[in-house]
């Protein structure tokens, strides 16, 4: 390989020192454009949804959201420039950092509405568990790839799960059941793609089913409450939305009404009464999709879903073009966590998924989520670019 002057100026370690121009050429432009479109679309959505939330300052949330997107964009660039192999080699550091972050939250976070999720950072609130999603994938994938030669052993799988359980439990105890479930989804994808045997996967599925069953039904029946009653009710409530129309399922019913009222073309920002008059709770965060569907209708919501589908498709494509197994597994974990979030959040607003506080990627108002998702996309792009590079080398 010929070394030119420009390349020498790149302050990276030589193994990963890459030609920036080449790197850009090797990025997945479709994915990049899809994400850019999603961010732009999300900002437009937030602008409409939050217009009446702060009287006298209709742009309050969208401005903050745009700042978060800008920070996230920077993070995305940094993530692209960072070689994924770095995470693989230092997965223990990543893992330790993730755990440290979670414990840090426990010690320092302010309790907001009964849960400790946020850390004050100057004028911003910082929600480590959002960043934890990507870090978690990077760490567990690192472990599994390192033990690749023993992946067929149940012991390896068990160790991986043991490693994964710690941050999951920490998040669950915040309490943030939704994010813990996202971690679980990411874990399953990581296990799946890293080559765990079908038999073991089946075994895991059985254990998971048993676990869910006991947490929701068997243990409470014998007097042991693992989940708080409201959590259980939310998880099971969506199967029977009329059970308590003004109580726990009130949110879901109002959300379904909002989505349905949107119709084909939407009711527009000023006429979307469910959102405007606060019938829809948390319409800028957990129920943001319902608000959006109310304001922009089937057409608007479909475009959003199609953009998500595009991102997922390109993400899965990254799995196939990854330059190494680690890249593939990480990409798979990130994409599946992303898919899980979209499904649970959108499904929740339409009454087909349990109500959990999971943000809708790129749309839900929240800086941490925006930045973390953009960084995750950066990691995908990095994997994609390295994979392309490897392709070139192989040829």
């Amino acid at each position: 390989m010929i070394v030119d002057a420009g390349r020498q100026r790149i302050p990276l370690r030589s193994r990963d020192a890459i030609d920036v121009a080449a790197l850009v050429r090797r990025l997945d432009l479709v994915l990049l454009l899809a994400v850019a479109a999603l961010v732009g679309y999300g900002l437009w959505a937030v602008a409409g949804i939050t217009r009446f939330d702060i009287p006298g300052d209709s742009g309050y949330f969208v401005t903050r959201q745009a700042i978060a997107a800008a920070i996230g964009g920077t993070g995305l660039v940094v993530a692209i420039l960072t070689p994924p192999s770095l995470y693989r080699r230092h997965w223990r550091v990543v893992y330790g950092g993730t755990i440290g972050l979670m414990i840090f939250v426990f010690v320092f976070a302010e309790a907001v509405r009964g849960s400790k999720r946020w850390i004050e950072l100057g004028p911003f609130q910082f929600q480590p568990s959002e960043f934890g999603k990507a870090l978690f994938v990077l760490a567990i994938a690192g472990f599994l790839v390192e033990k690749q030669h023993r992946i067929g052993r149940l012991r390896t799988v068990a160790t991986a799960i043991g490693l994964a359980i710690v941050p999951m439990v920490l998040v669950f105890l915040q309490p943030d059941l939704g994010t813990a479930l996202v971690y679980a989804a990411a874990l399953s994808a990581v296990l799946f793609l890293s080559g765990v045997r079908w038999l073991h996967l089946g075994l895991l599925l059985g254990v998971a089913a048993l676990l869910v069953g006991s947490v929701l039904w068997f243990l409470p029946a014998s007097g042991i409450e693992v989940l708080k009653p409201y959590q259980t009710a939310r998880l099971t409530g969506f199967t029977n939305p009329d059970s308590d129309p003004s109580g726990l399922t009130y949110n879901v019913n109002q959300s379904i009404t909002a989505v349905g009222a949107g119709g084909l073309e939407g009711r527009g920002v000023t006429d979307a009464s469910q959102t405007r008059f606060d019938y829809l709770p948390e319409h800028a965060t957990d129920f943001v999709f319902a608000s959006f569907a109310e304001q922009r209708g089937f057409f608007g919501a479909s475009i959003l879903l199609l953009l998500y589908l595009l991102v997922v498709w390109r993400g899965l494509r990254v799995v196939t073009v990854a330059g190494d197994l680690y890249g593939a597994v990480v990409a798979g974990g990130i994409v599946f966590a992303f898919l899980f979030q979209v499904f649970v959040n959108v499904g929740m607003t339409m009454g087909i998924a349990p109500v959990t506080g999971i943000p809708l990627p790129f749309v839900t108002v929240g800086g941490s989520s925006m930045v973390a998702n953009l960084v995750a996309v950066g990691v995908l792009q990095a994997i994609h670019a390295r994979g392309r590079e490897a392709d070139v080398l192989r040829r």
Binding site: G263, D278, Y308, R394
Partner: protein, 669 residues
């Protein structure tokens, strides 16, 4: 490359070497991994398919339904209260009208799920209502979120200001303008007017279309009977509210409220006030004359020509304003609780229509008329008026109230003197008529309107009692009591023993005497009119023309004899109430009554008798057509001439606008 960190040098160099067997083979996408990626892809497609299908189903298939639900979510229909119609006296002066007030209501459905009782407690504290009662009411109405609970009407300005300032702390609390009943004349005609209160469960069940929970309806008297005219029609307005029930826009009227119609009474405020004062004066006079237990009374003034009630007073009375706004349970105790009512001698009842008393001597004209009609008595036949007389097998002695009279007399003098023994004789003549004859007097009395409701348009009425042999048989158990003895006919002839009448029945009878033998139907409400705008004549919506008085079929000559007797009673030297009426410039004719009634008074043995003081009469008498009939009863007031007669005189004075020159109170029957 030389400036790369050292640790990386080895790896970099390997790129240019053949694969090292010690190092793992270059990564390739294995078919196994591809399969697994494919599985993930299928999962992703399924997920999106489900989301799209659900989105399409909600928004496209049933979008209209949800749109309607969303629109219904934010619009709240508010009833605009219609101002209740005023109640006017015969000259159009308001007796009851409205004042603007502020009501605080709670929409149960908008109270927060958690901390509902905190809101209730705070609200109760601000409005100074018992929190427990409010909480109970909220619990009862929890299933009915569409109608607000009225927590308090007549809320003070400070409290309203506080609620407005702290609106955020009181979700579901609404402040509304309302109309409050206002009684400019306080207790005036309280029992006639009735009162207004919140609609009861029973009313709601009976008239589900007319009434809505929280409505104000008339509960008694004119307010109740003419509720359909007074209530008006509530209007409707819609307002956009957010999920906490906070208004988001202006109130948009959908239907104007139609104010209630005014109801015009036949009562004259001035005369009514005079009548009420007269009753109090009568009671005071009675007490001065050693009737210490005088404590109540009734006075009614009718127009004998058509039965219009000019005044209808009942004492003791109450202020209808105790029912306005938040009702203080303590204040309405005498009106709702029997024991408390008894202590205050039942201020809530209208004694004119529901008070039953033995009529005493005011009954004598009934007997005289019946006897003449039955040809048992000739008007100018001389019948002895002795200090006492004995009747029946057991020679029971019956005495005259005045032991110093002992001569035969004609009917007019007997009426004027109110001679008991004269009427004992007449009564005994009925008794001698056998089983049939013994009911003839009662049959005439029935034709004169006794023993049946007078048919007044407002309020409940008692029928009184006309004792007959059949009634005795029906009512009593022992053979002794079942028997109709001479004493029954004899006592009945002077309006004693079992006979019981209401003052209104009595007034109606005297109106019949005054107008030449026609029985009027008393009425209180003359017309319903649209509430007059300032400076405009009211438009009559509906006029209640009284039924033309019905002739009872008495001989005009017989009637004239009675009238002569009644005139003599107030003007001849021996008249029982001449001392009261003879100097009155307008000729007034009338009859006193002193009826013994069993009244339980602490400290006296059971069966203690107290005299009920009566006076009934009319004016102008003799030469002109009478324009007013007055009937007064003072409970436990002693002699008719010393309590009821002077009270009645006050009403005549007010009606004719002249005063009696002198007044002498002589104790007569």
């Amino acid at each position: 490359m030389s400036d790369a960190p050292y640790g990386e040098r080895r790896n970099t160099s390997t790129r240019f070497l053949p694969p090292d067997p010690g190092i793992e083979a270059p990564y390739r996408l294995t078919p196994g991994l591809a399969l697994r990626v494919g599985v993930l892809g299928v999962v992703a497609l399924m997920v999106f398919a489900v989301l799209f299908f659900r989105l399409w189903s909600l928004q496209v298939l049933s979008g209209d339904t949800y749109l309607a639900a969303a629109q219904g979510n934010q619009l709240r229909t508010i009833r605009i209260e219609a101002p209740r119609g005023t109640i006017l006296d015969r000259n159009g002066k308001p007796i009851v009208d409205n004042v603007a007030g502020t009501a605080v209501k709670v929409w149960v459905g908008d109270l927060p799920k958690q901390g509902r009782y905190d809101v209730i407690k705070r609200l109760a504290w601000v409005l100074k209502v018992p929190p427990a009662r409010l909480a109970k009411e909220v619990d009862q109405r929890i299933a009915d979120p569409l109608n607000p609970i009225t927590v308090k009407t007549a809320v003070g300005e400070d409290q309203v200001a506080y609620l407005y300032e702290h609106q955020a702390e009181f979700p579901g609390v609404q402040i509304q303008q309302t109309y409050l009943r206002h009684y400019p004349h306080q207790t005036l005609a309280a029992q006639v007017l009735g009162y207004v209160g919140e609609v009861s469960e029973g009313d709601l069940e009976r008239r589900p279309k007319l009434y809505r929970s929280g409505d104000k309806v008339g509960k008694a008297g004119v307010e109740s009977t003419f509720d359909e005219f007074l209530r008006g029609e509530s209007g409707q307005a819609q307002i956009r509210v957010d999920s906490l029930g906070r208004p988001q826009g202006p109130l948009e009227p959908k239907r104007e409220a139609r104010p209630g119609h005014a109801v015009r009474l036949t009562i004259d405020i001035g005369l009514q006030r005079a009548a009420e004062r007269a009753l109090r004066y009568g009671i005071a006079t009675a007490r001065e004359n050693e009737s210490y237990y005088a404590n109540g009374g009734a006075l009614v003034a009718l127009d004998p020509r058509d039965g219009a009630v000019l005044a209808m007073a009942s004492t003791p009375t109450y202020k209808p304003s105790v029912y306005v706004g938040r009702v203080d349970p303590k204040k309405i105790q005498p009106l709702v609780n029997d024991a408390a009512a008894k202590r205050q001698n039942y201020p809530g009842i209208n004694r004119v229509t529901t008070g039953v008393y033995p009529p005493g001597s005011t009954w004598k004209p009934v007997v005289a008329l019946a006897a003449m009609q039955e040809h048992l008595l000739e008007p100018y036949e001389s019948v002895g008026c002795t200090p006492s007389a004995t009747y029946g097998l057991d020679k029971q002695e019956f005495v005259n109230w005045d032991p110093y009279v002992n001569h035969a007399m004609s009917l007019p003098e007997a009426l004027a003197r109110s001679c008991d023994t004269y009427f004992y004789d007449v009564g005994y003549r009925f008794y001698l008529g056998g089983d049939k004859g013994r009911t003839r007097m009662q049959e005439w009395a029935r034709r004169f309107g006794f023993g049946a409701p007078a048919g007044i348009d407002v309020g409940r009425e008692e029928t009184g009692l006309l004792p007959t042999p059949a009634w005795r048989k029906r009512t009593f158990a022992s053979d002794w009591d079942k028997a109709w003895n001479p004493g029954d006919s004899i006592q009945l002839a002077i309006g004693q023993k079992d006979v019981a009448v209401t003052p209104l029945q009595m007034a109606r009878f005297y109106a019949m005497l005054a107008n030449g033998g026609k029985l009027v139907k008393p009425y209180v409400v003359s017309q319903v009119e649209t509430s007059a705008a300032r400076g405009q004549a009211p438009v009559v919506e509906r006029r209640f023309t009284p039924d033309p008085p019905e002739s009872v079929g008495v001989d005009p000559a017989a009637l004239q004899v009675i009238r002569d007797g009644l005139y003599a009673a107030t003007h001849s030297t021996y008249g029982t109430s001449s001392g009261v009426f003879s100097s009155f410039p307008i000729a007034v004719a009338g009859k006193t009554g002193t009826a013994e009634k069993v009244v339980p008074i602490p400290g006296y043995p059971p069966g203690h008798l107290e005299d009920q003081s009566w006076w009934c009469g009319y004016g102008p008498a003799q030469t002109e057509v009478a324009r007013i009939v007055v009937c007064a009863v003072i409970e436990n007031g002693g002699h008719g001439s010393t309590a009821a007669a002077p009270a009645a005189l006050r009403v005549f004075e007010r009606f004719f606008g002249v005063k009696a020159e002198t007044q002498t109170l002589v104790e007569t029957d």
